[in-house]
């Protein structure tokens, strides 16, 4: 059996508060194979965001192991975490998070800038990706001059710049109308097929979750087996 791209063992996260620790994740075991599309679902407060932050190397687990691409990344320094994010992980956010004062092309080029790639080469790659997401004539536009769907396409292009094996999409259609949302989901799946990128999709929307090969439900910081167990009491 091949190595999974993501494997967590007994992953726990506790936030230290005034009245002792508040457990947010307790003993999450997760395995995601290369090229899988997984939907991560659960009510608010279930620990989805915390899990996503840990998987995205923006946060560290309190206990347990997180193995990314065969290496344990649980205890990295901030500097090392940044390197892992740059090379292994692409982020797509609900609110796009583009730099407003940079053009679409500059936004997409950014990861390669931090990877130390010369500007001309970075912009060439960015142009190819922009063209792939259907924005070949929008490179010199600023985010404010683009529609929501176009902004999310720019964000997707930016997330894929350093050819990461994992794409973390946090409610990628949350700020879009249904039709545009569907377009974005189709684009993500196309890119997933072309590039073999694994996608972890955090969403509330069951119709969006349908695009995934597999769904993982979280409740009270634990992985549960069925959507009913996850949603039951709260919805």
């Amino acid at each position: 059996m091949p190595t999974p791209v993501i494997e967590t063992v007994e992953l726990s996260k506790t936030y230290e508060g005034a009245v002792g620790g508040v457990p947010v994740l307790s003993g999450v075991d997760l395995t995601i194979e290369y090229g899988e599309v997984v939907a991560l679902r659960g009510p608010s407060g279930s620990g989805k965001s915390t899990l996503l932050n840990i998987l995205g190397c923006l946060d560290r687990p309190s206990r347990g192991r997180y193995v990314l691409g065969g290496s344990d990344v649980s205890g990295l320094t901030r500097e090392e975490q940044a390197w892992v994010r740059l090379h292994y992980i692409g982020f797509v956010f609900q609110s796009f998070h583009l730099l407003s004062h940079a053009t679409a092309l500059e936004n997409v080029s950014l990861p390669l800038h931090y990877a130390g790639v010369p500007r001309s080469k970075a912009e060439q790659t960015a142009r190819e990706l922009l063209s792939r997401v259907g924005l070949n004539h929008r490179g010199s536009h600023f985010p404010a001059q683009l529609s929501g769907g176009e902004r999310q396409r720019v964000a997707i292009a930016r997330a894929l710049m350093s050819r990461p094996p994992v794409l973390l999409a946090d409610e990628p259609t949350g700020a879009l109308d249904t039709r545009t949302g569907t377009e974005i989901m189709r684009l993500l799946l196309e890119l997933h097929r072309e590039r073999g990128t694994s996608i972890i999709l955090v969403t509330h929307d069951p119709s969006v979750a349908e695009y995934a090969d597999r769904q993982i439900f979280l409740r009270d910081g634990k992985v549960v087996s069925t959507p009913e167990a996850s949603l039951g009491a709260r919805s």
Binding site: R78, A82, R85, H97, H101
Partner: protein
């Protein structure tokens, strides 16, 4: 990697994006650097100007005067410097090139019914060279005039102008103190005013022997000027003067002097010291304004970091390392600092030049001073740019990206 040309390009773009704020940020530093350069220049210019004015007096001269009575109650009534004192100094001194007695009084100078007061000085011919007096017209008296007690005089520009107007004073006879008719044999070239505002040119010089014979009842020199053989013998000459006059006045070894020995060099040194302290003080004040400029950069950069929290979070999520974010903000501060410093250097040089030319000081802008203040300015900018940059680098990307 973190400091590549791309980082510089991006930082420069950011600086240009908000020209008003950038200008405001660097203004404080520019003023600080400018003030530093200007103040150092003022201090040095004023110092040189003061020293130059004192050097007119002759740096190598020792002045021997009778002490003011009453300063020391044990002292006997004031001794005047007499002809025998001068003779003893001439006879016994081994380190003196010249011993020049000066007798002086403020008295009337009259010509053709016109009379005005002036400083009348009985001096030796060596006086002219030592005080750098040149004649504008005619000549000076010599040793034979001294020996013959000749009734001749050399007058300064002021009495020449006031008494003679457009007429030629040479060969005319003026009456000194109402009793002594003297033939004018020379007119001095102009020197202007002294540091304490006296008209140096309001002067009449005649042989001291003539002065002693006709203008005073008792020979009592105002002071005796002594020039050592060379500059290195200044201290030896002073010791010798003290020793000779002690014996001439019949004082015991332990007795206090009833005369004082001083040299313009001391005055110049004192003035130089004062001016240096003043210059240091000015530089210190300017350094404070430079520091305030640095704090200005820090404040605006801190605001900038707070405003750009989301941007920093996005960059971090994309994979910017804390060190790269630090570098970005540090380079931004550095660019602002460099521009501010260049503006400040220009400002400082312009202000220093304008003030120097208005005050009649030499325009002193030393490259080392400019380099020092520029280096100081950049150091301040980087130092104060570091704190905001560090805050940006330590920002938690999760918090920075948290949805509103």
């Amino acid at each position: 990697m973190a400091l590549g040309p791309e980082t510089w390009r991006l930082a420069l773009k950011l600086v240009v994006r908000q020209p008003g704020r950038s200008a405001l940020t660097m203004l404080g530093l520019a003023i600080g650097v400018g003030a530093f350069i200007a103040m150092v220049s003022f201090g040095e210019g004023a110092r040189r100007s003061v020293v130059a004015q004192f050097e007119v007096l002759g740096t190598n001269l020792i002045k021997v005067q009778t002490s003011t009575p009453g300063v020391n109650p044990k002292m006997r009534p004031p001794m005047h410097l007499s002809d025998s004192d001068v003779a003893m100094l001439v006879r016994e001194g081994t380190t003196f090139a010249h011993v020049l007695p000066v007798a002086r009084k403020n008295a009337g100078v009259a010509y053709g019914g016109e009379q005005r007061p002036s400083f009348i000085n009985g001096v030796a011919p060596g006086y002219f060279a030592i005080h750098a007096w040149d004649v504008a017209a005619g000549g000076i008296f010599d040793q034979s005039d001294v020996n013959e007690r000749a009734k001749v005089c050399v007058i300064g520009k002021t009495p020449a102008r006031e008494l003679f107007g457009d007429r030629d004073p040479l060969g005319q006879t003026v009456t000194l103190a109402g009793v002594l008719p003297c033939r004018v044999i020379g007119v001095l070239s102009e020197k202007g005013f002294s540091t304490n505002g006296n008209d140096i040119d309001d002067i009449v010089l005649l042989p001291y022997t003539t002065y002693n014979t006709h203008l005073t009842d008792r020979i009592a020199y105002a002071y005796v000027e002594i020039e050592p053989l060379n500059k290195d013998l200044l201290d030896a000459a002073r010791a010798e003067i003290t020793d000779i006059l002690h014996r001439a006045h019949g004082l015991d070894t332990g007795d206090p002097n009833d005369f004082s020995v001083s040299s313009p060099l001391e005055v110049i040194r004192a003035a130089d010291r004062t001016a240096r302290i003043l210059g240091t003080l000015l530089a210190a004040i300017a350094a404070v304004s430079l520091l305030v400029g640095g704090i200005g950069i820090m404040n605006i950069q801190l605001v900038s970091v707070a405003e750009r929290t989301e941007e920093i979070g996005v960059r971090a999520a994309i994979g910017a390392a804390p060190s790269q974010i630090l570098a970005q903000f540090l380079i931004e501060a550095l660019i602002l600092t460099i521009i501010g410093t260049i503006v400040g250097v220009t400002l400082g040089i312009v202000v220093a030049s304008v003030v120097a030319s208005n005050m009649g000081w030499p325009r002193v802008i030393s490259p080392s001073g400019v380099l020092l203040s520029a280096g100081f300015g950049i150091a301040v900018g980087v130092l104060f740019g570091y704190l905001p940059a560090r805050r940006a680098a330590l920002l938690d990307p999760i918090h920075a990206l948290r949805r509103q």
